[in-house]
């Protein structure tokens, strides 16, 4: 059992979240394991994006947000006063719905994180640049134009650049908020392939609208509905033999 506990990256306990007076997350309990891909599915407005943004406390950028409960990250409650949110976010990277590179060069985008956190050694930076872009399967496409503006890249390349930018600070969790919803099927396939290859080094939590995507890439799936976590299990179980009627209705396309 202790061995199992070591595998747990996130242990969410009785998490409630309100936007002003509207409760968006109700009593969420779930565990996210190391080196697994956890998919979060559910219809629009079910709280899945809110949930994932709570994991690195990005949700706090919205002024009216209030939370209760605990999120243990490697055993430490991320809401604890001793936790520095900046440090948490370097350990827990995030990739967003729409590719959002900075209007700077590819080079500057990847190295933004290491640079703001005080890394100045040119050799280290060069190394980080190359490994991050290689891990994000983008190196071969951009190695000859590292100093071009990131907005010259295609949407799919931009999203992989954002993944590289996130890898450059060597996080151990990557949160992805519908990372392929703005991309075409080919670019989507590349990102999915990438997620699969990143799994051995990172724990990934991905919000997705596409149940096929959740089925293809995830080990575990959590189904959210109206702020409740309805069901959380192995992906095969969720898709082949869900326990809850509502999960079944959603994955068979009866609503959502």
């Amino acid at each position: 059992m202790t061995n199992y506990e070591n595998k747990v990256v996130y242990d969410v306990r009785d998490l409630n979240l309100w936007y002003g007076n509207d409760q968006a997350l109700k009593n969420i309990n779930l565990k996210i394991n190391k080196n697994e891909v956890t998919a979060i599915i559910g219809p629009s407005g079910c709280g899945k994006s809110t949930f994932i943004k709570t994991l690195n406390r990005m949700i706090e950028n919205i002024p009216s947000v209030r939370t209760t409960g605990q999120i243990l990250y490697h055993g430490l409650n991320i809401f604890d006063k001793s936790i520095k949110v900046e440090e948490l976010r370097t350990r827990v990277g995030m990739v967003f719905q729409k590719p959002n590179p900075f209007p700077k060069s590819i080079y500057e985008n990847v190295l933004y994180g290491p640079k703001i956190h005080g890394i100045k050694d040119k050799n280290v930076l060069q190394e980080v640049l190359e490994t991050s872009l290689k891990s994000a399967a983008l190196w071969d496409e951009v190695k000859d134009r590292l100093h071009d503006n990131a907005y010259g890249l295609s949407g799919g390349q931009q999203q992989r650049l954002c993944i590289a930018r996130c890898l450059a600070v060597q996080p151990d969790v990557i949160l992805m908020d519908e990372p392929t919803s703005a991309l075409d099927p080919i670019a989507t396939a590349k990102i999915e392939e990438l997620i699969d290859s990143l799994k051995s080094d990172y724990s990934i939590s991905i919000v997705t609208h596409s149940m096929q995507q959740a089925g293809r890439i995830s080990d575990k799936t959590a189904f959210f509905l109206m702020g409740d976590l309805i069901e959380f299990d192995q992906t095969e179980v969720i898709f082949s033999n869900p326990r809850d009627k509502r999960t079944e209705d959603y994955i068979t396309g009866r609503f959502g």
């Binding site: 995030m94 959002n100 900075f102």
Partner: protein, 308 residues
């Protein structure tokens, strides 16, 4: 269903009755109204040019761009404009040294740090600052700021370029702050989120992401503010006096181009004299100054626009 059919036939009736003439006439009217400002501008420029030409028939370019300015000398009036240019440039530079740091930091605060409530209080107050008549600023410079500065700089003359420069700077702070804030506000939130997601602090997000992304709008606000300072008249006319000596000492009185025009249009230049035509030459030069500044502003905002 019956009702639907009724509406349909009513609409058909109305459409067939509608006169097309108004649809065709209105755009022409709108075009005419839009042309008014262009035609006026052309008219003003034409007047400036024709009368400036008359000036240059009497005074050479060499004399115009010299340091000898003595338009009231009855026997041998001279019209060297360099003292006026120095006055204008120095007072504008002082203004920018006040307005850029204060305006930009205010913009950063308003756009990135202030809560919605604070912003709602501060912005209107700043806009009030922009609405104060310039004559009030001029009076403020002469009767308040100059005496205050004299405590610090005893050698300061009663009319000097420093005090109106500072006050002009204060006057254009809202312009710099408001335009720069607009530029920073226009930076998509997704970009800030990207930076926060990498563990940036608010200050890092502001300085390393938002500011560079908004730089074209910010630079444009600077240049527009400079052109405002160059064209500003009342403050300098009141507080910097009308000394026509060429000097770079900001504690001394200097006349700006605008100040010169004020002095001479208030009675000293009889129509048809060289002094009278010199107003047009100075006015034309002033127009070229601000025009160039505005063109630079447009160029900058196009060139440095970070595509996102």
């Amino acid at each position: 269903m019956e009702k639907d059919m009724n509406v349909r036939s009513l609409i058909r009736d109305n459409i067939s009755k509608r006169k097309n003439s108004i649809d065709k006439l209105m755009p022409k009217f709108f075009f005419l109204m839009a042309s008014v400002s262009i035609i006026t501008t052309i008219g003003i420029v034409m007047t400036l040019i024709t009368d400036a030409i008359k000036f240059f028939e009497k005074v050479s370019f060499a004399q115009f761009f010299s340091a000898d300015l003595a338009p009231l000398n009855a026997n041998n009036p001279t019209f060297g404009i360099l003292p006026l240019i120095t006055g204008t440039v120095l007072s504008s530079l002082i203004a920018m040294m006040v307005a850029i740091p204060v305006g930009l930091t205010a913009a950063m605060y308003l756009s990135e740090f202030a809560t919605e409530g604070t912003r709602r209080v501060i912005k209107p107050i700043m806009e009030v600052l922009a609405g104060i008549p310039t004559i009030v600023y001029g009076f403020f410079a002469y009767s308040f700021v100059t005496p205050l500065l004299m405590e610090l700089i005893p050698s300061l003359e009663a009319k000097n370029v420093l005090s109106p420069g500072i006050v002009m700077g204060i006057m254009i702070i809202p312009m710099v702050a408001s335009l720069s804030e607009d530029a920073m506000n226009a930076v998509p939130n997704a970009m800030r989120e990207g930076a926060y997601g990498l563990g940036s602090t608010k200050l890092e997000v502001t300085i390393k992401v938002v500011l560079p992304a908004a730089i074209s709008g910010i630079m444009a606000s600077f240049v527009l503010a400079i052109s405002r300072a160059i064209g500003e008249t009342m403050i300098v006319a009141i507080a910097s006096g009308s000394s026509k000596n060429l000097t770079f000492d900001i504690t001394k009185s200097m006349q700006t181009m605008t100040g010169y025009i004020v002095e001479f249009t208030s009675g000293d230049a009889g129509s048809g004299t060289t002094g009278y035509y010199s107003l047009y030459a100075v006015g034309l030069l002033l127009f070229i100054f601000t025009l160039v500044m505005n063109l630079i502003a447009q160029y900058i905002s196009r060139k440095y626009r970070e595509e996102y």
